[in-house]
């Protein structure tokens, strides 16, 4: 019937990574663990005489859904810290109690049922298509409609209306000249400096370091070089 060894392998491969949903700190680790659970479930479907669903599970869940989760994590920042302050007092213990209660309740229901296991019908694409486009063809059509509505809904939800007209490059240049700012590009970092690395400020014609020449990103990350050594070096080399 069912190979016990394979069942226990699937049980371990699905249950152990799913605990990452409760204990892992970083959302990316959770996503990778859930991918593992999905692959284990695909093997379980193939064991349960549903090879078509096993393939669909891998393609849809690990291929599309979890990758979309990872994309969104990339979009909104991986380093989102989770606050551990409880806004509802005792929420941790109440929720653990509720989840355990759900599990005990369902195990109690299932264990009271006497199952008479029949001979399996293999769920190959032929058998699934026979049911899908035969008796359940209306449900199938409705699901197509649901998918279209979901796609349009996602487009509408993530669409940001433009509040101000877009600046063209000519307008930006004219604004810069009108304000009296420096009309030319900022010097690249490393120009005329001791090194041509990105984190070394460029030097102006008088030999002074230009702080704006370093990318703002490096400054935010505190990855830029301190300019004091350069300034001191320049002072030293300057003729009296």
């Amino acid at each position: 019937m069912i190979n016990p060894f394979l069942f226990w392998v699937i049980a371990i491969v699905t249950v152990v990574p799913s605990f990452a949903l409760l204990f892992a700190r970083k959302a990316v680790h959770v996503a990778v663990a859930v991918v593992m659970v999905m692959v284990g479930l695909a093997v379980a479907y193939i064991m349960l005489a549903a090879p078509f669903l096993g393939m669909v599970q891998i393609v849809v869940y690990t291929g599309a859904v979890m990758m979309m989760f990872v994309f969104v994590l990339m979009l909104i920042g991986v380093s989102g810290k989770e606050s551990l302050v409880e806004t509802i007092k005792g929420q941790r213990w109440i929720s653990l109690l509720v989840a355990t209660g759900i599990g005990v309740f369902l195990v109690g229901v299932v264990s009271r049922v006497i199952f008479q296991v029949q001979e399996p019908t293999v769920g190959n694409p032929d058998a699934i298509a026979g049911a899908l486009f035969g008796r359940m063809v209306v449900v199938m059509e409705t699901l197509g409609f649901v998918l279209i509505v979901a796609a349009v809904g996602a487009l509408v939800l993530t669409h940001v209306p433009r509040l101000v007209p877009k600046h063209t490059q000519r307008e930006i240049a004219e604004d810069r000249v009108r304000v009296g700012a420096n009309p030319v590009n900022k010097p690249m970092p490393g120009v005329y400096a001791r090194h041509n690395a990105l984190d070394v400020p460029a030097l102006d014609p008088t030999g002074q370091p230009i702080e704006e020449s370093i990318s703002r990103v490096l400054e935010v990350r505190h990855q830029n070089q301190d300019e004091e050594p350069y300034r001191a070096h320049l002072e030293k080399g300057k003729p009296e």
């Binding site: 019937m1 069912i2 190979n3 016990p4 069942f7 699937i10 249950v15 799913s18 949903l21 409760l22 959302a27 959770v30 996503a31 859930v34 659970v37 479930l41 479907y45 349960l48 005489a49 549903a50 669903l53 669909v56 849809v60 869940y61 599309a64 859904v65 979309m68 989760f69 989102g80 989770e82 606050s83 806004t87 109440i94 929720s95 653990l96 509720v98 989840a99 759900i102 599990g103 369902l106 195990v107 199952f115 296991v117 001979e119 399996p120 019908t121 769920g123 058998a127 026979g130 049911a131 899908l132 359940m136 699901l143 509505v149 979901a150 809904g153 996602a154 939800l157 993530t158 940001v160």
Partner: protein
């Protein structure tokens, strides 16, 4: 070994998923908990389909997968929209919505 064992596995996975939804405050992690619950119900569907020897459960699991895919699309779009509005995906932050 009877295929009923997979029903118990589905129960365990469903409980872990629900605990995750109740515990975690990161919206994306809680959402993955919902996905785990949907997958556990799929496993139960396929297990029952195997026990009864028909493909009806598998077709239902297929429908659940399609609806879950649509739900993920809309849910992640909502999370991105909330993140754009308030720079946070903590589930505690939108509590000012209370009536």
């Amino acid at each position: 070994m009877s295929p009923v064992a997979f029903i118990y596995l589905a129960v365990v996975l469903f409980s872990i998923g629900s605990a995750s939804v109740l515990l975690r405050r990161n919206a994306i992690v809680a959402f993955m908990g919902v996905e785990l619950m949907l997958n556990a119900s799929n496993l139960a569907f396929v297990g029952f389909s195997r026990i009864h020897g028909t493909v009806d459960g598998q077709v239902l699991a297929f429908f659940v997968m399609v609806v879950a895919a649509a739900e993920v699309v809309v849910g992640l779009a909502i999370i991105v929209a909330i993140f754009r509005a308030r720079e946070s995906i903590s589930l505690d932050d939108p509590s000012e919505m209370r009536g």
